[in-house]
């Protein structure tokens, strides 16, 4: 065991770095750990998402912070590797971060227990365990936005209300062959039972760059509507294959992961008519985005390419931080400084009817419901941008609740 010497040297060097790093930072700032995957599986979203988060925090700081308290983002790449995520989490925690966003399902899963033990807040907007909506079982985990289950029900509800009802329809769920892809399945199966439609699922192998065999099967099923459930490079392939196999774009419904980049990829005109679930409004029409444009982008304080401002994923980032900052504000107001994990948790649970000035559906987070209601809307690509075709709404939450409880129960049992 002659080998620790080298490591101790590395460790002491790293320690020196860490102290130097934290000395430079402000002592009283609130720190958010935005430790995400910029180099592996989540690259399709993390760049724009993180840019939105940082631009919003810059906006808050430019407007004077929370009563003068600044918010500082600790941004690190963990490459979707749990061991790097764990290191980044522990380091950021030592630097005093009270809120974490890993934006990676494996890393979030690996750290759920640590977060619950350490009493710091973990936000899992649009990723991670859907059953974390159960605030009693996961007191420090906040999905904040509609889980994949709620997304499936909102899409189904749109068909029920605007496309002539679900009854007797044939619906194909074409999904990536992973736990994420299969996630909506139980909810949709329950709905199929309840609303009497025929459901079949068609998995395609990860990463989904080649799906032709799957879509041949789908075509022979002759579905009325198709749900596509994938992310990244697989999504444009799904849309193309669907259109190629004679499925009208209007009949394609996507999970939240379908954005402007995918439309460009498929061909902006070709994709016109495709619908998707959205958790936040896209575009720059909302007041928050206007202020970001004015005070951050025009002042040259932006965190990245100005062309990304207002894209779907950018706005998801903005919304996630808007909720977090609102929670921090409520926490500071009622509990006082300094902000700690338990205080921030209480702040989150005080959020009620918060819609980030129209950027997202009004959400109300309670001690038992950390999903915030599970609302969203359906929007349609019109060739240039996403146009909402429904109001903010939540649907079939009773069915979703069954899944949440089942998952939470399994977690309590030790899963």
């Amino acid at each position: 065991m002659n080998r620790y010497k080298n490591g101790l040297m590395a460790a002491s060097l790293a320690a020196a770095m860490a102290t130097a790093g934290s000395a430079a930072a402000q002592e009283d700032a609130i720190k958010f750990g935005l430790l995400q995957d910029f180099t592996a599986v989540y690259t399709f979203v993390s760049g724009e998402y993180n840019q939105g988060q940082r631009d919003y925090l810059t906006l808050v700081n430019e407007e004077g912070g929370l009563d003068g308290t600044m918010i500082e983002a600790i941004v690190r790449d963990h490459g979707n590797e749990p061991q790097r995520g764990i290191e980044a989490y522990n380091r950021a925690k030592e630097e005093g971060a009270v809120l974490f966003d890993f934006f990676s399902t494996p890393v979030s899963r690996a750290l759920v227990d640590s977060v619950l033990e350490d009493e710091v807040v973990l936000i899992t907007a649009l990723h991670g365990r859907g059953d974390a909506s159960d605030g009693e079982t996961f007191p420090y985990v906040f999905p904040m936005m509609a889980t994949y289950w709620s997304q499936a029900t909102v899409l189904a509800n749109h068909i029920e209300e605007n496309e002539g009802g679900l009854e007797g329809k044939k619906i194909a769920l074409v999904h990536i062959d992973s736990p994420f892809g299969r996630e909506p399945l139980p909810v949709l199966e329950a709905l199929a039972e309840e609303e009497d439609f025929e459901l079949r699922n068609f998995p395609y192998p990860s990463p989904g760059n080649e799906q032709s065999a799957t879509w041949t099967e789908v075509r022979h099923f002759r579905p009325d509507h198709v749900f596509i459930w994938g992310a990244g490079g697989g999504q444009p392939v799904s849309v193309r294959e669907a259109i190629r196999n004679g499925i009208s774009p209007e009949d394609i419904y996507s999970v939240v992961w379908l954005a402007e980049t995918d439309a460009e990829n498929v061909g902006a005109d070709t994709m016109a008519g495709v619908k998707r679930f959205e958790a936040t409004a896209s575009g720059t029409d909302t007041p928050i985005l206007q202020r970001i444009q004015e005070k951050v982008i025009d002042a040259d304080l932006g965190a990245g390419d100005a062309a990304n401002v207002g894209t779907s994923y950018y706005n998801v980032g903005v919304a996630s931080m808007a909720v977090a900052v609102e929670a921090a504000r409520l926490a500071l107001e009622s509990e006082g400084a300094p902000l700690t994990g338990p205080k921030l948790k209480a702040g989150f649970e005080m959020i009620s009817d918060f819609d980030a000035e129209g950027l997202m559906p009004p959400i109300t987070i309670t001690a038992s419901d950390h999903q915030g209601g599970g609302a969203g809307r359906v929007s349609q690509w019109n060739g240039e941008r996403w146009e909402p075709v429904s109001d903010w709404t939540a649907a079939y939450q009773d069915v979703v609740q069954v899944e949440i409880e089942e998952g939470a129960e399994a977690f309590r049992q030790g899963n």
């Binding site: 080998r3 080298n6 899963n415």
Partner: protein, 357 residues
């Protein structure tokens, strides 16, 4: 007092054949072991839990693979799958009510049995074809884990490790998990260091150097290769179980994906094929360098020394890491172990120039 070979004269074979014939080396090992034992008392939770602990466990895994790749010369690009089998079987065994100590052995045996199936390919082919065959098996194991909910743990595909006790000591705190890992890595290291002095170890080396020639001198390649796969997979399986219980505390399929297999091979190669020091150094390098680079680049960027886009900042560590691997293979193909050895030899005779070891 600096000349560390002073007074070292072996007069009996027994003393010359010790693991560390030079007293200075022995003291160094003991000192480092003592340091590792008291580490929880002077290292913060960050360095203990996120650096030293994973390093120890991955070193054990890398040593298990080194036994196969370095000592026996059988290439294996699916070792993460072997560890996955160990991790999953240990958790399921513990949940079934089996005591943790026995579950660890059970995990090792399951991994070893399935791992020996990987070895079947080695009986037929070697070199590049063996790489491809083990790689394909990695994909198969991954697929089975993901697609059988009974193994992966249902919809969320996450299995949390139950709280267990090891030899009556509950493994719940970071310190106890650290000692569990330390015990295992010490065991693996002792086994690895001693295996080369047994007839089995020498048979492995004979197979590595030339299996036909080994057969001629009476080493059964069929049996030896299978036992090599069995032993190495046993150790890998237990390492996987320790990884699950002592470090991750929840297993998901991604933790044992193909990338992890590549990382393990990189550990073995960058460390230096076939040496124990290399296993430790290689594991440290592959595991900690990306973390270290990420922090370094983020710190430099935060201090305003490099003004580049956030996207590039995230990718620079990846580039440097790739370049480092290439650099090692080009300029020091014998790995970190060789560099360590050069330094050691230099200081062994310091302040004299000539080398004798």
């Amino acid at each position: 007092m600096f000349y560390r070979l002073a007074g070292v004269h072996h007069t009996r074979y027994q003393s010359a054949r010790r693991l560390w014939p030079v007293p200075a080396d022995r003291w160094q090992v003991l000192f480092l072991l003592a340091l590792a034992v008291v580490a929880p008392f002077f290292l913060s939770n960050l360095y203990l839990g996120s650096y030293l602990l994973p390093w120890l466990i991955w070193s054990a895994a890398a040593l298990s693979l080194t036994l196969l790749m370095g000592t026996a010369g059988q290439l294996h690009f699916g070792f993460a799958a072997v560890m996955a089998i160990g991790a999953y079987s240990s958790i399921h065994l513990v949940r079934f009510g089996v005591p943790f100590e026995i579950a660890l052995v059970g995990a090792g045996v399951t991994a070893a049995v399935i791992g020996s199936l990987f070895g079947m390919a080695a009986l037929r082919v070697k070199g590049l074809y063996l790489v491809m065959a083990t790689l394909a098996m990695q994909y198969l194991v991954d697929w089975v884990i993901i697609n059988v909910p009974a193994i992966s743990g249902g919809a969320q595909a996450t299995l949390r490790t139950p709280t267990v006790s090891f030899l009556l000591v509950p493994v719940d705190s970071l310190v106890s998990r650290y000692y569990l890992a330390l015990i295992w890595v010490v065991l693996v290291t002792l086994f690895f260091l001693n295996v080369k002095r047994t007839s089995f170890g020498r048979a492995l080396v004979a197979i590595r150097d030339k299996d036909f020639a080994a057969a001629v001198i009476g080493v059964d390649p069929f049996r030896t290769k299978l036992v090599a796969f069995f032993t190495s997979s046993f150790m890998g399986g237990v390492s996987g179980a320790i990884l699950a219980f002592a470090y991750y505390r929840a297993v998901t399929p991604e933790q044992f994906s193909f990338n992890v297999s590549i990382q393990l091979v990189a550990m073995v190669l960058v460390g230096g094929l076939g040496s124990a020091v290399g296993g430790f150094l290689g594991a440290g390098f592959v595991l900690l360098i990306p973390i270290f680079l990420t922090n370094l680049v983020a710190w430099l960027a935060g201090a305003g020394w490099i003004a580049i886009s956030a996207n590039l900042i995230a990718h620079v560590p990846l580039m440097i890491y790739g370049a480092l691997i290439i650099g090692f293979l080009l300029f020091e193909p014998l790995g970190l172990a060789k560099i360590y050895d050069n330094i050691r030899k230099y200081f062994l005779v310091w302040p004299f120039r000539h080398s004798r070891s």
